[in-house]
């Protein structure tokens, strides 16, 4: 292998950093975006960042526990999106919007 | 019965409260007389208690020197006991609270609104008050102390005057904050000594073999100050006193009677029962300032503010603040005369102020106001009322031959030995008291009788019943105080004995100043 390519050797740290970056992007999205659907997508990004981290650790330690966990996360995320989307639809029927700033019937 | 006489005294009113709750809500008469019976029995029992009580029961740190002890485990995880008992200090307070509760019922006969709730709460209050004076377990003491808060809050808040809500909340929050500090100190004591028993705690603390956290002097000092704040709010001591006039003015007559007659005593009782035996060293250190100096401030400030009042009830409320100052001054002296005087003053103030409040209630029932300036010449219309009031006012200003004189004299005797200058200032309070009481009397009873007051009936039988026992007691104890002092004195002697080295006790600020002045 040529010397120069060693610089680009990708270790598990790189994956973890990527996962942290993805997680932060997701978090920032949840906090900044006002469209409930987009917020939900950002949460999915966060969950996938978690999946990436899990797979990386699992691979690094050469065991499959983390990979199994990823399937759990995916299954749960699917169930959650079913519920979340249906709640969004119910809301949209009544209010004709999915902007969280306009969803403000509840106030003290 | 004699074995459980203390429980009986405490819980009889509660039984009455339950009975009243079961009655149909229209049977006012039945409720009133039930209340009379269920406060009367404890009164009789407490007279019996007095008969059976031997003055040699000096209590304090020796469990065997308490009488009629009842001790059963309650919350064993925390070694909390249902622990009642009396010594010379509490026996008189029990009699006081039974007596005041009893006459308060008569003063409540004119209550028309929600009678059922009123008497049920009233009797609950009576139970809680007695419980405070009888508890020898810190936790039990605290529980009774807190339970007392609620009925008082409602009694002021529902049956009070126009600004009742404000007064009730103010009362509640002040007292609650005070008791929070007490809770904190209580927990520190428990986790150091592993007991809530006041008897055990005092024997531990008097031996100066401080356990656990109490070994740290800062914690002991903080404990004393926090306890003092908690009790000071109840007394009330000068900067914490503002709830009292509001509560008194708004409360119905009987509740003012209870408030002034019994509740205020709980502050000073708490200091004597808890702060003194549990933290003797700190008591020595702080008593001159927290009790002596502030006591004199109470006397003088209370008297001056009373002088400026137009509302008769407010006047009496401030006179209470002033009179409680004597109790504090006597306690601060830490010698037998002063302490005897303080305890006696607690009792006397209880009965005299009750009488005053009932008398104010009498005029309020007729005139529907208490403005001193709007009254006048009542002596022509209500001669019997005028003479009772004269008696009560003279008792209040400490006329020789009436009980207030003896207690004040004892306080001054004791206090002068230690704080000469402070006592001289305090004695001037007597003149101020005489001034505002006589002034008020003059305005209300002499002068021109107002047209609309011509129809006023004189004091009636129920009202006389409610003040007569008190009046007789004031006169008897004023002529012959021995039955009271004999019971109290041994306990006080014992309490003073823990402050072995009271020579260093002095209100330094003034003493030093006077020393400086007279020398140079």
């Amino acid at each position: 292998m040529p010397e120069s390519l060693h610089i680009f050797q990708i270790t598990e740290t790189h994956y973890i950093v990527l996962s942290v970056i993805l997680f932060c992007i997701g978090t920032a999205g949840v906090l900044i975006r006002r469209n409930a659907l987009v917020i939900f997508l950002c949460i999915e990004i966060m969950l996938n960042a978690v999946n990436l981290a899990l797979v990386t650790f699992s691979r690094h330690m050469d065991q499959n526990r983390g990979e199994v966990f990823v399937f759990f996360v995916m299954a749960v995320a699917a169930a959650e999106s079913a519920i979340g989307l249906s709640l969004l639809i119910v809301l949209h029927r009544q209010k004709k919007t999915v902007d969280v700033d306009e969803i403000n019937t509840l106030k003290g | 019965m004699d074995n459980h006489i203390l429980s009986a005294i405490t819980f009889f009113p509660l039984i009455g409260a339950v009975l009243i709750l079961l009655m149909p809500s229209k049977s006012f008469k039945l409720m009133r007389w039930t209340s009379v019976v269920f406060t009367g029995i404890p009164l009789l029992l407490s007279v019996r208690l007095y008969q059976l009580f031997s003055p040699a029961s000096t209590g304090m740190n020796q469990a065997e020197l308490y009488q009629f002890v009842e001790k059963y485990p309650w919350i064993s995880t925390f070694h909390i006991n249902y622990y009642l008992g009396v010594d010379g200090l509490s026996v008189t307070m029990v009699i006081l609270s039974a007596l005041i509760s009893f006459i308060g019922v008569f003063a409540s006969f004119n209550i028309q609104k929600a009678v059922k709730g009123y008497f049920a709460l009233y009797l609950l209050l009576a139970t809680a008050m007695t419980g405070v004076f009888l508890s020898l377990d810190f936790f039990l003491f605290y529980v009774f102390w807190e339970v007392m808060l609620l009925p008082m809050y409602f009694l002021i808040g529902i049956w009070g005057g126009p600004r009742r809500e404000y007064a009730a909340i103010k009362f509640f929050l002040y007292t609650l904050f005070g008791s929070v500090f007490m809770l904190l100190v209580m927990l520190v004591f428990y986790f150091s000594a592993n007991t809530f028993s006041l008897v055990e705690l005092s024997s531990i603390m008097i031996s100066k073999d401080y356990p656990g956290y109490l070994n740290v002097s800062v914690i002991r000092n903080a404990a004393w100050i926090l306890l003092f704040i908690g009790f000071a709010i109840k007394i009330p001591v000068f900067p914490f006193h503002t709830w009292l006039p509001d509560a008194h003015v708004e409360a119905p007559t009987a509740i003012s009677v209870i408030l002034a007659g019994v509740l205020l005593k709980m502050g000073t009782y708490g200091i004597l029962r808890i702060s003194y035996p549990l933290l003797p060293e700190e008591t020595m250190k702080y008593a001159p300032y927290a009790l002596g100096f502030l006591g004199v401030v109470n006397i003088v400030y209370g008297a001056f503010v009373a002088m400026a009042q137009n509302d008769l009830k407010k006047l009496i409320a401030y006179s209470s603040i002033s009179h409680m100052g004597y109790v504090m001054l006597g306690m601060a002296s830490l010698n037998v005369e002063g302490m005897n005087g303080a305890i006696f003053q607690m009792f006397n103030h209880g009965i005299i102020t009750s009488m005053l409040f009932i008398l104010v209630g009498v005029i309020y029932d007729r005139a529907h106001h208490r403005d001193i300036h709007a009254l006048g010449g009542l002596i022509q219309q209500m001669p019997r009322y005028a003479s009772f009031t004269a008696f009560a006012f003279f008792a209040g200003l400490g006329l020789p031959g009436l009980s207030g004189f003896i207690s004040e004299a004892l306080v001054f005797l004791g206090a002068f030995k230690v704080y000469s200058i402070l006592t001289i200032i305090a004695a001037s309070g007597i003149i101020l008291t005489a001034a505002y009481l006589l002034w008020a009397y003059m305005r209300v009873f002499f002068g021109k009788l107002h047209e609309q007051h011509r129809e006023f009936p004189d004091i009636n039988a129920i009202e006389v019943i409610s003040i007569l026992p008190v009046a007789i007691l004031i006169l008897l104890l004023g002529v012959y105080p021995a039955p009271y002092l004999n019971v109290v004195e041994p306990t006080m002697q014992k309490m003073v004995s823990i402050f072995s080295d009271s020579s260093g006790l002095a209100f330094n600020l003034i003493n030093q100043m006077s020393h400086y002045l007279f020398r140079g």
């Binding site: 978690v50 526990r65 019937t105 | -």
Partner: protein, 498 residues
């Protein structure tokens, strides 16, 4: 050859099944099976709502009896993924009790609101099974699954009134915040896994004991993230924003359930999980400081926000933040006494909170608007009995002796003082005094104010259902009896160790 193959497979299966120890999961399985059964009953349409309510109570009752069976010795099953001991049993009882109370107060309310969908009860049972898995778990994977079973059911329950915008909004907000928090929790779990190579509590403990926190930044970060995610569920300040909205919008019985069981389960998990690091030397300061500041912030901010709140449900939401702050102080003191005190607090909190929501459910009988404190004006004159019961609940929440709320606070603050955290105890006790003010505001409205004439809210129209009254009276009885005599219960909790 094939015979040997099948033999090994069957022996393998046998060992797998014997290590599974299904008995340990009896309550969990009964409740989740019950949930499925109720789904089937729901097909009956007409009478299903009533039948389901009854069945749900039966199922929860059986489950709590089954928890008795597993015994008090700690047993692990499913290859160490489940640990059943007295601690988790106590929580199972707490969940079953909460579930039964919720059914009792739901029935009439849901019928009145025309949201009597029979599936509601099966969702409740699924939620309860999720709760059970959360505290029985001894593996983060199971914890996560339990938590999500719970959450998914709760999203639907909170948003079950699809004709009411408030309910939908509450459901959606709860959903977004909850999933957001789950992501943090998961990220934390991933890091813990990355550091220790396992998701099992015991393996994590072994790792933490042999490698201190300082030497493993992944573990440190992971534990902090798990704590943060759970703080969301507990609604500790500063992760509390969702609480008032969800409390206000969700149907009342759901709020009653939401404000008690999930928070208790989250604490149950935290107690169990953080106990693994109990003996780690040195215990990380940062972790301790974070827990303490969460407790302090929750108590103070919760109280301050509740002080001026006019909406009753929102006020209770903020006050629940404060209550969880008190429990957090017990959590911060990390001692066995603190755990028993916290368990006692949970029991007390269930009775007080369910009771108070039951009363509100009765009162809000014919009221579609939000309940404000003003609505309670003069209630003592119109409905003296109900006002009196309401007052007892409020006083208990305020911690006035001799009610259970006082005993609970007393035990918690005692434990805190015993651990030497004086400052925390002082803050807690002062806060409990402050909290009396806003509970008292309701009492003032009920007792000291004259009834309003045309508030559009008719207190006279209140009718009591049997089930609701049963819930209220049993809560009142518990509050008074356990308040006067807490000894046996706290004794029982003291024997429970982690």
């Amino acid at each position: 050859m094939t015979e040997i193959m099948t033999d090994t497979i069957s022996t393998n299966l046998q060992t797998i099944i014997s290590t599974m120890r299904l008995g340990l999961l009896a309550p969990h399985l009964i409740v989740s099976m019950g949930g499925i059964l109720l789904m089937l009953v729901s097909l009956l349409k007409k009478a299903a709502f009533k039948i389901n309510a009854f069945l749900a109570i039966v199922v929860l009752g059986i489950a709590s009896v089954c928890a008795l069976n597993t015994g008090s010795d700690p047993q692990t099953g499913f290859n160490g993924m489940i640990k059943s001991d007295m601690f988790s049993n106590v929580f199972i009882w707490i969940y079953c009790a909460t579930g039964i109370f919720t059914v009792l107060i739901s029935h009439k309310y849901m019928e009145r609101r025309k949201i009597n969908v029979p599936e509601y009860y099966s969702l409740l049972l699924f939620a309860v099974s999720g709760l059970m898995f959360m505290t029985s778990a001894s593996d983060l994977m199971i914890l996560f699954v339990g938590l999500e079973i719970l959450s998914v059911s709760l999203f639907v329950m909170a948003g079950i009134d699809i004709h009411d915008l408030r309910s939908t909004e509450a459901g959606l907000k709860y959903f977004l915040m909850s999933v957001f928090a789950s992501a943090f929790l998961l990220f934390g779990i991933a890091f813990v896994y990355g550091a220790t190579g396992s998701t099992e509590y015991s393996a994590i403990k072994d790792f933490a004991l042999s490698n201190s926190f300082g030497r493993s930044p992944y573990l440190y970060a992971g534990v902090l993230l798990v704590l943060g995610g759970m703080a969301f569920k507990i609604s500790a300040v500063p992760f509390h924003m969702w609480t008032p909205d969800v409390y206000q919008g969700a149907p009342l019985p759901v709020t009653a359930f939401l404000s008690t069981a999930p928070k208790i389960a989250s604490f149950g998990f935290l107690f169990k999980f953080m106990a693994q690091f109990q003996n780690v030397q040195p215990y990380p300061d940062l972790l301790e400081d974070i827990v303490i500041s969460l407790a302090v912030l929750s108590m103070i901010v919760g109280n301050l926000l509740a002080l001026n709140q006019e909406d009753l449900k929102r006020m209770l939401a903020y006050s629940s933040i404060t209550h969880m702050g008190y429990v957090m102080t017990a959590f911060a003191s990390r001692s066995d006494t603190a755990i028993s005190a916290a368990l006692f607090y949970f029991a007390a909190y269930i009775f007080m909170n369910i009771g108070i929501f039951a009363v509100i459910a009765v009162i809000s009988e014919n009221n579609d608007k939000n309940l404000t404190l003003e609505n309670f004006r003069g209630m003592a004159q119109k409905k003296p009995a109900m006002a009196f019961l309401f007052m007892i609940f409020l006083f208990s929440l305020a911690g006035i002796p001799p009610l259970i709320g006082f005993a609970a606070k007393f035990f918690v603050f005692s434990a805190v003082i015993q651990s030497g955290l004086y400052g925390l105890a002082v803050i807690g006790i002062l806060n409990s005094a402050v909290s009396a003010y806003y509970y008292l505001r309701v009492v003032i409205n009920m007792y000291l104010k004259a009834p309003e004439q045309d508030s559009g809210f008719d207190l006279n129209a209140i009718k009591y259902g049997m089930a609701e009254m049963l819930a209220i009276t049993s809560c009142i009885a518990a509050i008074i009896i356990l308040g006067l005599q807490p000894t046996s219960l706290i004794h029982f909790f003291e024997k429970i160790a982690l």
